[in-house]
């Protein structure tokens, strides 16, 4: 009885906690994005609803939810409705293995990293089905783009992760963080003794996570000045809203993974008081950077994007993989 109640309570608490964290962040990252963009563009941004416009996401949510969930003629209704969920659900599932601190992790499983990448692959299926189900030519072009984009960027991302895993020797995210304890030079990004290309790997991983989450300058699936709204063109009300929340949840996952793999997770840079606050601080600095990049750069072209992956990122990450393997063997 005792064991049962504690286990059920734990599962329920983390279930609620993970979903609440993902949803709250998805909503408030929209606010952050609008506010940050506004200040970069000499504007004020949302300010009417609540102090500093803080209630704006809630009002936006109510607006989207009260809209009719219109399914255009010619659509495949099942695929059309499933697609947003296939973006949102894997993103929430990925939070299960993210260690916010040493103890604050919903499920500390040994193959956490593998699980996240398994779920991240479902993401592209959602984009594909959304584009196909919409029966819109712009959406189909966008879907075709996002599939080849995701395939192209998953390769350098995974090769980079393999190199990191070779150094850490574990797929358990919490253990990867524990190994980076102490001062900040123990973080993987500065771990040049394991592989001199470690800072480069961090950059590659970060670029790939931008591309994987369809963020500018790689927002080929949305590309509003070319494809109207890409795969979101036909989506009304909360269908669009869920897509949007899924996108922000994915950004959060990408940044969280970058923090865990390269920036020491919940470890303090100076070895004092490690904990969830350090994790969140690093996470939001990265999220801020992602938004900053979006409002600074124009969009790349599709072939530019693929060239970057196949001709630059994949060769570098392969060289790095061989170098890391050699260094591990020799030293």
């Amino acid at each position: 009885m005792d064991l049962l109640s504690s286990e059920i309570v734990r599962v329920l608490a983390f279930l609620v906690g993970v979903i609440a964290f993902a949803a709250l962040n998805a909503a408030y990252l929209v606010w952050l994005e609008r506010k940050e963009a506004a200040h970069m563009q000499l504007r004020i941004g949302p300010k009417e609803v609540g102090p500093f416009g803080l209630l704006q996401p809630i009002v936006d949510g109510i607006k989207l939810m009260t809209k009719q969930l219109f399914i255009p003629k010619g659509c495949d209704p099942i695929l059309f409705m499933i697609a947003p969920l296939m973006i949102m659900v894997p993103a929430i599932m990925s939070f299960v293995t993210i260690p916010f601190s040493e103890t604050l992790v919903a499920r500390n499983i040994n193959i956490g990293l593998l699980m996240i990448f398994a779920f991240a692959s479902i993401n592209v299926l959602g984009l594909l089905l959304g584009g196909w189900g919409s029966a819109n030519k712009y959406a189909i072009i966008a879907a075709a783009r996002s599939v080849s984009q995701n395939v192209a960027y998953e390769i350098p991302m995974l090769i980079t992760v393999i190199a990191v895993v070779m150094i850490t020797g574990t797929l358990n995210l919490n253990e990867i963080v524990i190994q980076q304890g102490g001062m900040f030079w123990n973080w993987n990004i500065f771990n040049v003794f394991a592989s001199p290309l470690m800072p480069v790997m961090f950059v590659i991983f970060f670029i790939c996570s931008l591309a994987e989450t369809n963020r500018a300058p790689f927002d080929m699936a949305e590309a509003e000045s070319e494809l109207i709204a890409g795969i979101y063109t036909e989506y009304p009300g909360m269908g669009f809203g869920v897509f949007f929340m899924g996108e922000y949840a994915n950004i959060l996952i990408g940044c969280a993974l970058t923090v865990i793999l390269f920036l020491g997770g919940w470890q303090c840079p100076f070895g004092v008081a490690p904990g969830v606050w350090w994790f969140l601080l690093k996470l939001y600095i990265l999220v801020f950077t992602v938004i900053w990049i979006r409002w600074t750069y124009p969009r790349t072209t599709f072939y530019g994007l693929l060239n970057l992956s196949w001709k630059i990122l994949i060769p570098i990450s392969l060289i790095n993989l061989i170098l890391t393997a050699g260094m591990l063997k020799v030293f």
């Binding site: 963009a37 563009q41 030519k137 927002d219 590309a223 000045s225 494809l227 750069y297 124009p298 072209t301």
Partner: protein
């Protein structure tokens, strides 16, 4: 060009770019025959906002048509004012006081900067960069404030009259314009550092959308499109009008013919406009801004009259046939973007969709001017 597009048995599909598409900046519709993301054929469809301006001219008096000119190219309205006013003044033989000529040049050039600034923002927006638009609008706003104080309008100016301008400038105009030029001079390096030298922008513009000298000439392209293809042709220099011969300015010409060349022509033109305005403000004499005996009703002699001006997008020309009554017998307007757009179908063949949209942005289309 993709190999498959040359194979006649290969399947293509059509998409409608517009009339409501974010990249067409208006109600332009382009029917694209696509081979994957490659454009096999592009056919612009016009006429969605045709308002019969030329026909309207035949039923209105000479002066009543003035506001119509501002509603064609709403971004460089004063040049259209100028073109029409020049034609009618030539027809009716009206002399213009020198101060009015200088005022016309100053306001037209200010308007040209405003037009190029808006184009700059909108073009980078087409390429997916949102932020420069708002900086460009911030600068454009200053010009509109200055022009509002003189003309009373902010977009569709009708400032010119036959024989002069509507009213004189106030004492704030010269200091405000000087301050604005100083401000814009300090901001142009920022635009070049942050936008022109951006690696993604350079990759998207250099060698993309080439328009050869021959193609530009064949389709009658004018303005920055022609000058970006290496033809040194500017009505202000080639067929001088107003007081332009007395002012010292250069015509930027780039020979590459790609989107970057057209971009650089416009950015350099902003600098040249500032030079013109400064000189014109120095040289502007005191005096009348409108001839004293301005005719209440203009009735040009029977005949055929023509005048052309350099607008922000190219040559705007106006030809009127007068039968001696108080309205034109026939009014023909030549708008630059109509010719510039006509080369689009040939220029974008075989290009990828995003590059074709960059090319369309670099043509600087204003749809109400194409559909007059």
């Amino acid at each position: 060009m993709s190999v498959l597009a040359q194979d006649p048995t290969h399947e293509t599909f059509e998409i409608n770019l517009g009339p409501q598409h974010p990249a067409t900046h208006g109600v332009l519709r382009v029917i694209l025959t696509m081979d994957g993301e490659y454009i096999y054929k592009a056919e612009p469809v016009l006429g969605y906002i045709h308002r019969m301006h030329e026909k309207m001219g035949e039923s209105k008096t000479w002066l009543q048509f003035m506001p119509n000119t501002a509603r064609m190219d709403y971004l460089h309205a004063l040049a259209y004012n100028h073109g029409y006013v020049l034609t009618v003044e030539r027809a009716a033989g009206i002399e213009v006081p020198e101060r009015a000529e200088y005022l016309r040049v100053i306001t037209v050039e200010l308007n040209r900067i405003a037009s190029h600034l808006l184009w700059f923002g909108a073009f980078v927006l087409d390429l997916g960069g949102f932020t420069p638009l708002l900086y460009a609008f911030d600068d454009r706003e200053q010009i509109l404030d200055i022009l509002e104080s003189v003309t009373g309008a902010r977009l569709t100016f009708s400032y010119f009259r036959f024989g002069g301008v509507y009213n004189d400038i106030d004492e704030n105009f010269i200091p405000a314009t000087t301050a604005f030029i100083k401000r814009l001079r300090s901001r142009m390096p920022m635009y070049h550092n942050l936008v022109t030298k951006n690696i993604i922008l350079m990759k998207r513009l250099i060698d993309v959308g080439p328009i050869s000298k021959e193609m530009a000439r064949l389709y009658g392209a004018t303005g920055p499109v022609l000058r970006g293809s290496g033809v040194d042709y500017d009505i202000r220099k080639n067929e001088p009008y107003s007081v332009y011969p007395e002012l010292d300015f250069d015509v930027p010409v780039y020979t590459e013919g790609d989107s970057m060349a057209r971009y650089m022509v416009r950015m350099d033109e902003i600098d040249q406009c500032m030079r013109i305005i400064e000189q014109a403000m120095d040289k502007m004499p005191e005096g009348e801004t409108k001839i004293k005996k301005a005719p209440k009703i203009v009735k040009p002699e029977k005949g055929d009259y023509y005048a052309a001006v350099e607008a922000a997008r190219g040559t705007f020309a106006c030809r009127v046939v007068s039968d001696g009554t108080n309205s034109p017998y026939r009014l023909k307007l030549r708008s630059p973007t109509y010719s510039n757009l006509s080369l689009y179908g040939e220029a974008c063949r075989g290009m990828l969709l995003p590059d074709a949209l960059a090319l369309m942005g670099s043509l600087d289309l204003v749809i109400p001017e194409i559909d007059r």
